[in-house]
């Protein structure tokens, strides 16, 4: 049983995605139940896999029994097991409340919505588990196609946002495929480990540099790395709240995973850092993206849009850690992946709850009445916001700490400055909301609808927000356990 773990992680979700619409024909609610059951099972499998990997080292699975490098290989190593666990756990927590959000915003669409969610998660888990470069492309497109569909069922302009997302995303995937052609032409292989072994013999071929550049650009689009982030703000803003809460925390992270995997484990540290300085390009683009995303977030008047721009900045942190290309920086990047997944999930769940209860998420209309009406929701928002700013002991502080230490190790003080300035900018746009919610008494207290009444979100919608908020604090407090026990095992050769 254990040896089948790598393939079961995406397969459980795919099977559920195919079976759940059939059960949905009998009763609509069955689709949701199967979705939650499958993701819960998947979370269990990923955690089991992570424990196995930590105890016994990496696992490899031969699809159809074909021996790699000819056959496709699924690999569960510390990096992939960690990302798979984050994806499954965050998706599971968000899914607990997703049905209530979907019932509010998309009545009658429950069955297709959750089928698309399962397909998207299949794609994400596949990206993380596969050990084959072409297989990665296929899973990337499975996940992306489902994500386009999830974005497109939102507000009135959402199909436009989804179409732009599709156009940019598919172009990025095509560039990845073209880059892969260069790699395949030079090495004759698509298996990641095999390519990594052959590549050093063709280092001097300029075609490899072109291939690498195309792959980095293609993955940069998927990850929304500045300046390839153009699709993200509209897509996350217009998507239905349940879809934003599912896509925003993990959608860009799988792009980051693919970048880490391909830069450090396929092309190798010596090539991308020492010979070509690809990581330096990633580093500086990310630094610009951090500042740009934070400034744009300040300029937004609507909360989901603000969170979307903040995602551009937060992806920049992950890119910064990758770009530093040293052990501490990589720890910071991987830790920020899990931290940001929890933070963004909590904040988007809160935004969804506010939309359902208040009917809007305009920052200008938030005041103390909102806080009195939804004290627990606002508490979860506060924890998420503090973590985004980087206030200890919340999780956000520690990943920024590792990133800053990594920058100091490289002697890049300007990157420390970028992290500090962006934390201040984060404080500006989050305290703007917190100040309104906690300190500003309602301007229109008289004659308005239930200005002081309790109007908290339903428990099923509140629980995910509170769980995620608790997770943020737990990740912060126990970050040393996570870093020493898991993230430290992610050691690309030569780093």
């Amino acid at each position: 049983m254990t040896e089948h773990l790598p393939v079961l992680i995406p397969l459980v979700l795919l099977t559920a995605a195919l079976a759940s619409p059939l059960f949905g024909l009998i009763r609509h609610s069955w689709t949701y139940r199967i979705t939650v059951a499958a993701v819960a099972l998947d979370a269990g499998l990923t955690m089991w896999g992570l424990a196995e990997v930590i105890a016994d080292g990496p696992m490899s699975y031969r699809l159809g029994g074909w021996v790699p490098p000819i056959g496709i290989e699924f690999v569960l190593d510390p990096l992939s097991a960690f990302f798979a666990t984050v994806i499954a756990v965050v998706a599971l927590v968000v899914l607990v409340g997703a049905r209530a959000l979907v019932a509010e915003e998309l009545p009658e669409k429950e069955v297709p919505f959750f089928v698309a969610v399962l397909l998207m998660l299949t794609g994400f888990q596949g990206i993380v588990i596969t050990g084959d470069l072409f297989n990665l492309f296929v899973f990337m497109e499975i996940g992306a196609l489902a994500a386009y569909a999830l974005v497109a069922v939102g507000e009135r302009p959402s199909p436009v946002a989804a179409f732009r997302y599709l156009l940019i995303g598919a172009t990025g995937a095509s560039l990845y495929l073209l880059g892969l052609w260069f790699v395949y032409s030079l090495t004759g292989s698509l298996n990641m480990a095999d390519v990594a072994a052959i590549l050093p013999t063709v280092w001097d071929n300029p075609a490899m540099v072109i291939g690498l550049s195309l792959i980095v650009v293609g993955l940069g689009v998927k990850m929304a790395m500045f300046p390839m982030h153009g699709w993200l703000p509209d897509a996350y803003t217009q998507a239905p709240s349940a879809a934003s809460a599912l896509i925003a925390p993990i959608g860009t992270k799988v792009g980051a995973y693919a970048l880490i995997r391909i830069l450090f484990f396929v092309f190798g540290v010596r090539l991308v850092r020492d010979r070509l300085a690809v990581t330096d390009v990633v580093l500086w683009l990310s630094a610009v993206g951090i500042i740009y995303g934070s400034v744009m977030a300040i300029a937004q008047r609507e909360m989901k849009r603000m969170l979307a721009y903040s995602s551009v900045a937060q992806v920049g942190y992950i890119g910064l850690g990758i770009g530093l290309a040293n052990p501490v920086g990589l720890i910071g990047a991987v830790l920020h992946v899990v931290n940001h997944a929890f933070m963004k999930a909590a904040l988007f769940v809160v935004a969804g709850n506010m939309r359902v209860k208040l009917g809007h998420t305009d920052i200008g209309r938030i005041d103390a009445a909102v806080q009195r009406a939804m004290p627990w929701t606002m508490a979860a928002f506060t924890v998420g916001a503090l973590s985004m700013i980087g206030v200890p002991p919340t999780a956000g502080f520690f990943s920024k700490w590792y990133l800053a230490s990594g920058a100091i190790d490289r002697g890049l003080w300007i990157m420390v400055l970028v992290i500090l300035v962006s934390s201040l900018l984060n404080a500006v746009y989050f305290f703007r909301v917190l100040e309104r919610a906690y300190l500003r008494s309602g301007d229109r207290e008289e004659g308005t609808e239930a200005a002081s009444g309790r109007n908290e979100a339903r428990p099923v919608m509140l629980v995910p927000a509170l769980l995620l908020a608790a997770g943020i604090v737990a990740l912060g407090v126990f970050n040393a356990v996570l870093v020493n026990g898991v993230i430290d095992l992610i050691r690309p050769a030569g780093l």
Partner: protein
């Protein structure tokens, strides 16, 4: 499998053609204002990349990689056969492209029903005027 880069300009006219297609596709995606034309551009881009892959597999005087019973006499010479892997990979890529196009058409229909136009400029104007 011979790396194609050596004879890029020597015998690889196919690559010049696919490079031209690639640029045409990117141009349409970036510059055209009609969303259908942008989608056509995406399809041209995908076709260019698929053709690039398939062109890699060709060699002079080679045939399909199917072993015939009477070929068992002598050892199988890899040089006599095309590389089948790019073809099979590109079959998958074509399927991915078809699925993407299908989803894109569904989105375009939905956009047209809501706004009555597929012009990017008009759509952005409509969205700004209180589509929010």
């Amino acid at each position: 499998m011979g790396p194609p880069m050596g004879d890029f300009w020597g015998g690889g006219y196919a690559y010049a053609a696919t490079a031209a297609l690639l640029v045409i596709g990117l141009y349409a995606i970036l510059v055209k204002r009609n969303l259908v034309k942008k989608l056509i551009g995406l399809n041209i881009l995908q076709a260019a990349i698929i053709l690039t892959w398939v062109a890699t597999a060709t060699k002079p005087d080679a045939t399909v990689p199917v072993l015939e019973s009477h070929s068992g006499e002598h050892l199988v010479e890899a040089a006599d056969y095309l590389n089948p892997l790019p073809h099979t990979l590109m079959l998958t890529a074509i399927v991915v492209g078809v699925a993407t196009t299908g989803v894109a058409f569904a989105l375009l229909i939905s956009i047209f029903r809501r706004y009555g136009t597929l012009d990017e400029g008009e759509l952005l104007g409509e969205m700004r005027n209180g589509g929010g």
